[in-house]
């Protein structure tokens, strides 16, 4: 147990994995190869890049806001974590079950790796949510 917040080591590992994933995703899209930005590219990839830009803006805001909520408003951290978990799950479901005919992720090494590791991030976030929810319940 970490003394300050009374959270398990697994929580901090899950949080580190999530942060590492988010930074990797940001890096992958910022350093996107030139040929993928070609205007003759398929409509699917263009739509995906447009959507990814919006999502990465939200990810960036979450990366900045989460430590602030965690340190200053710890009481509400579980709600923020659940909201972020919901969002990560929602966009995963959207990409693979709803928008599968509309979006297509570019075939770049790092982007493929980021796409493959999305379930791990969702699991990490679910762990964080569960721990924060049940921790607050046992405190009462």
């Amino acid at each position: 147990m970490y003394r300050g917040f009374e959270l398990t080591i697994i929580f901090w590992v899950a949080m580190s994995i999530t942060y590492a994933f988010c930074f990797s995703a940001l890096y992958a899209y910022v350093t996107l190869p030139e040929h993928l930005l070609d205007p003759n590219n398929t409509a699917k990839i263009k739509a995906t890049l447009r959507l990814s830009t919006i999502r990465l803006v939200i990810v960036s805001l979450a990366l900045i806001a989460y430590p602030i909520v965690f340190l200053k408003f710890f009481k509400y951290a579980k709600y923020v974590t659940v909201a972020l978990t919901s969002w990560a799950t929602t966009i995963y479901i959207d990409d693979y079950f709803v928008l599968e005919r509309i979006v297509e992720y570019p075939d770049s090494g790092l982007i493929s790796l980021v796409q493959l590791s999305r379930p791990i991030i969702i699991l990490s976030l679910i762990w964080m949510s569960f721990e924060l929810i049940f921790r607050s319940q046992t405190e009462v």
């Binding site: 959507l51 659940v82 919901s86 479901i93 959207d94 709803v98 005919r101 979006v103 929810i133």
Partner: protein, 163 residues
């Protein structure tokens, strides 16, 4: 004085078992009428949206541009309608058992916001509100649905005040 205290003690012993805190019959949380009203509105709104979508899909209502039907947007709406129905079931089950309702609400809010952003980013270029007048009415009033969900999440009571 001693007699009065004794009587009070007797009454307290007799009625003690019937008090709110000890009665097994009253061992459930009664939500406010505002909560029930808003939850009914949420259910009604979501169900009408889903039914309307299936009517549009089955070409049972007029005034919808057929090009809109042929585009990929229909497939997206189909999947969204099914997911919304599943989430609505989860929301009602969690409300009935009074377990995890706030989190179910939060999930639905995030889902609705995300689908609104997706639609705005992907389909705003070639979709016009007049192409789908019935569904557009629900797209425009979506903030109302999200506000209702947020409201119901805030006013939901998940434990007794005495706890």
């Amino acid at each position: 004085m001693i007699e009065k205290d004794k009587k009070n003690l007797e009454f307290a012993t007799i009625f003690g078992d019937a008090s709110n805190s000890q009665s097994k019959d009253k061992d459930h949380i009664v939500q406010s009428s505002t909560f029930r009203l808003i939850l009914s509105f949420i259910n009604l709104y979501a169900l009408i949206t889903i039914v309307l979508f299936f009517l549009v899909k089955g070409n049972l209502v007029g005034g919808v541009n057929t090009n809109f039907i042929e585009q990929g947007f229909l497939y997206v709406l189909n999947a969204r309608a099914i997911i919304l129905l599943i989430l609505l079931i989860f929301l009602n089950v969690s409300a009935y058992y009074n377990y995890g309702f706030k989190y179910a609400c939060l999930f639905l809010i995030v889902y609705m916001l995300n689908s609104a952003i997706d639609n705005a980013v992907l389909f705003s270029g070639f979709m016009h509100l007049s192409d789908r007048p019935y569904l557009s009415a629900f797209t425009i009033t979506r903030p109302l649905f999200i506000i209702s969900l947020f409201w119901v999440m805030i006013i939901h009571k998940n434990k007794f005040k005495s706890n």
